[in-house]
Symmetry: C2
């Protein structure tokens, strides 16, 4: 296998958008462990029981997704049925969390699979559909659950195998956002985010085959997309108030920093480069290298980043979604773990209806 | 569970497009069984060995996907690396066929999951991205393999369990298409198809729980999307030269006809309503109710429909992709099988460069 030169740009480069698509209603729900973490106070809902009264964790996961969709819609005085499209994805085989959740709402639905990069993938599709005038409003939603992911990807959850230091902990939670081109939904002074550009990732595989070490598997893709975004736009890290990667964790985000430095001589500073997988748990929570999962980045963005954006004076933010595209079957057949990362640039602004901005 | 009124329209209705996105290069590859079927002569490639020289059927499936992508690009004098985006999906857990295939080409990639409706889902996303000016060209690709699907969804392939009459046979094959807004790729007189409108489906579940009987599980969704398309556009079956559903098979397509008749008094005639799952195998091929799988509709469309379109004077065609959104885990937990169907309207035209059409 030959490794690509990280950051080299091809025909598929950064897609510039006109900022016509706004994200106006972040909604987040998390499990008890995430609620006890450092960001616990910021989430819309912390459930006390990760079964949510359901008969299986799979059913609990879809209840969380549905709750986040309904909450996001309520925040802009809509019902899910008012949406023209639901874009959703998750980690489970056949993305059953999203498909069965969509059964409970009477709304057109398209399913996505980008592993833990699915949230950013949904933002790109949603923003393009809104800005292009095809659908409005669009709801984007993603979910993951530690207990469903653990038994699907690794071992029976109750087996309680010892987890190596590089392992990450799948976030139990869900997040949803309403995307719309109209500016009627956010109130005066409230924050909204516009989608400004997107860099879709290519699949990068550096032959990592440890299925616990997804941070290392995803790090090259994260560095690649970040460097492609920089090269395409002529920007560097200093042009962003925040770069938030999805779920590289402590090991993966450190590796990404190093790959970016070695390949392009660019330094990512802890001042404005954060990883949601590092933020969401404290080091006392026995999560080893940090958080992961489809919900990790979106609940951190919806719950925490959004709520501190004004205080931290965040304007331009790059969301770098990161995913590992393996399956147990592929790894049993001797395959390594390919990574992918997609970047979406958003700009936070406070709604100012009197200014007559577009 | 309450069943929705089939064909009732909500906020999410038919999306009208401007016909700026053209499909110019259909490519198809199928396995030996499909090659021996009634459409065998129309496919670009019939492989003699469904392992394609690989060490597993999963690896063979991704080789077919890659082959179709390369063939589609070659037909318009491109390489996959010239594409700005690859949209792909398949039936395997974590859509590994698409993810690992994308690793072999240096092109930005977004993964989709719509079960056997994934092809039409990819056409909708691709057409919107091209028409909206976000990406061009876009490659859409889907694949399935009888032997990988059988063991993932049901029983070990070698077990050779007796299959009930309602069972369908997953098509071994892959198809790819290049979507572009420019008209430079097809030669004078060659056919190209424009994407004219799309009706994204909602998830419809009529409580079918027989995991062999996917035709019955998908039929209500097919009827729902078809009736919503008719209601939104004021059209009926006579307005189409052909309505091609994906993989309802003999039983499912008969049920769809009946549901459309009973719910709206509309008759679907065998003259212009066909199902790819019925077309692709002959009744002597021991496929019971017909073909199915992510590849069923796109190889039939790329291989057969496209090549007879001129002879049959096909102008307006409605592609109705149909998918069953279950998983073995969901069904083991007592769930029924939700169906979904997406419709994309396309118009065939012969390239006429001198006419100066847009």
């Amino acid at each position: 296998m030959t490794f690509p030169v990280l950051g080299s740009t091809g025909a598929g480069s950064t897609i510039r958008m006109k900022g016509r698509c706004r994200i106006t209603s972040p909604a987040s729900v998390v499990g008890p462990k995430e609620g006890r973490g450092p960001l616990g106070q910021f989430f819309d809902l912390v459930v006390e029981d990760d079964l949510l009264g359901q008969s299986s964790w799979e059913k609990a996961e879809r209840e969380m997704l549905l709750h986040s969709v309904r909450t996001a819609c309520e925040k802009v005085n809509l019902t899910p049925e008012d949406a023209q499209l639901l874009l959703a994805g998750d980690l489970l085989n056949q993305t059953i969390t999203s498909g069965y959740a969509a059964r409970s709402v009477d709304v057109p639905y398209l399913g996505l699979y980008g592993a833990c990069a699915t949230f950013v993938e949904s933002l790109f599709f949603g923003a393009a559909l809104v800005e292009g005038g095809f659908c409005d409003p669009v709801v984007c939603a993603t979910a993951s659950h530690h207990n469903t992911a653990e038994r699907q990807y690794r071992l029976p959850t109750e087996f309680a195998a010892q987890r190596p230091p590089e392992a990450q902990w799948t976030v139990t939670g869900a997040a949803a956002f309403v995307l719309s081109g109209s500016r009627s939904s956010a109130s005066e002074g409230e924050l909204e985010a516009r989608v400004l550009s997107a860099t879709v990732g290519r699949v990068v595989d550096f032959s990592v085959s440890d299925t616990y070490d997804l941070g290392s598997a995803m790090a090259p893709a994260a560095a690649d997309t970040l460097l492609r975004h920089f090269a395409d736009t002529g920007r560097g890290p200093d042009d962003f108030d925040l770069i938030l990667s999805g779920d590289l964790g402590r090991l993966g985000s450190e590796l990404s920093r190093e790959l970016v430095q070695r390949n392009a001589g660019i330094n990512l500073s802890p001042d404005n480069y954060w990883d949601a997988g590092v933020l969401i748990y404290s080091s006392e929570q026995n999560v080893n290298a940090g958080g992961s999962g489809c919900a990790c980045q979106p609940v951190t963005f919806a719950g925490y980043i959004w709520k501190v954006a004004r205080k931290l004076q965040l304007g331009r933010v790059l969301l770098l979604g990161t995913g590992a595209l393996h399956s147990p079957v592929a790894c049993q057949q001797g395959e390594s773990i390919p990574g992918i990362a997609h970047a979406v640039e958003i700009g936070f602004t406070a709604v100012n209806k009197q200014a007559g901005e577009q």
